[in-house]
């Protein structure tokens, strides 16, 4: 049998990998992918908690579904932003999009 904390460990690892990607990848698209990874880690946690702690409720599944929605929206908008940034400055490197530097 698989105890809850297996899932938590895996989700934490996935989350940290995603964090690393967000922090470290120089390519904007890769950053977005890493964000997707983090969202998935969250999703796994949600479902796992639901299944183990409150299986009689529906919340876990519902929240996971909403996370799907958020992820889809995030991907769409994020990629649109990246594409327009690329169109304007021929670069997808977040580090180079620093117009707001003080």
């Amino acid at each position: 049998m698989v105890p809850l904390w297996f899932y938590l460990i895996v989700a934490a690892a996935l989350f940290c990998i995603g964090t690393f990607g967000v922090l470290a990848r120089r390519n904007g698209v890769a950053v977005l992918m890493s964000v997707e990874l983090m969202l998935n880690a969250v999703n796994i946690n949600l479902v796992a908690f639901w299944r183990y702690l409150t299986p009689e409720k529906i919340n876990g599944m519902a929240f996971a579904a909403f996370i799907f929605v958020v992820a889809a929206a995030e991907a769409a908008v994020g990629l649109a932003i990246i594409i327009s940034v690329y169109r304007n400055r021929r670069s997808v490197i977040p580090e180079e999009a620093d117009t707001l530097r003080g």
């Binding site: 105890p3 120089r26 997707e36 998935n40 479902v47 796992a48 183990y52 990629l79 594409i83």
Partner: protein
């Protein structure tokens, strides 16, 4: 603990998703990166199956792999950023250190004391569960998730419009 088919499946899916994730964050070639992403998401879908949420699993495959990942491939190709970067990472060491620190904190600070060492959270997965029909009803019932559901649809619409507006070539520029 004894090795059951569930345990094996869990380990397999864990390897798949983590490996895919590592592939995503490390690969040179971003198209492969998207493929890795799909692999990782596929592992997550496996988790959902194991957690007896088949609906979520299917939606995961459909939405992520069918739509989002394809979107990513498009983005990769449109931005010609498949392998146009000499270096993959910025401040590699700091970031690795930070990520590992976060992981350690999560495991040692939260998961360990709260879940691993907590005897009353060791119970096996209970047999009671909810089906997809319950989820649908929850989304449809007013006192449950109807409003968030509608809001989610609104969010999607807004995101779609926003994406179109942002990514559209403004007419004056060629």
């Amino acid at each position: 603990m004894e090795i059951t088919i569930v345990t094996v499946a869990f380990i397999v899916f864990a390897l798949i998703s983590l490996g895919g994730a590592i592939g995503v964050v490390t690969c040179h070639n971003l198209f492969r990166g998207t493929i890795w992403l799909m692999v990782s998401l596929f592992g997550a879908a496996g988790f959902f199956v194991l957690l007896s949420a088949p609906f979520l699993a299917a939606v995961q495959v459909l939405v992520y792999i069918g739509a989002i990942a394809i979107l990513f491939t498009f983005a990769v190709m449109l931005t010609r950023s498949i392998s146009n970067l000499k270096t993959r990472f910025t401040r590699l060491n700091i970031n690795i250190a930070a990520a590992i620190a976060l992981f350690v904190l999560l495991v040692v600070g939260v998961i360990g004391p709260v879940f691993i060492l907590n005897p009353d959270l060791q119970q096996p997965v209970s047999s009671v569960t909810r089906t997809t029909i319950d989820l649908g009803e929850a989304f449809a019932r007013g006192n449950s998730f109807a409003l968030p559901f509608e809001l989610a649809s609104l969010l999607l619409t807004a995101a779609m419009i926003g994406a179109i507006v942002i990514a559209r070539e403004s007419d004056d520029e060629v």
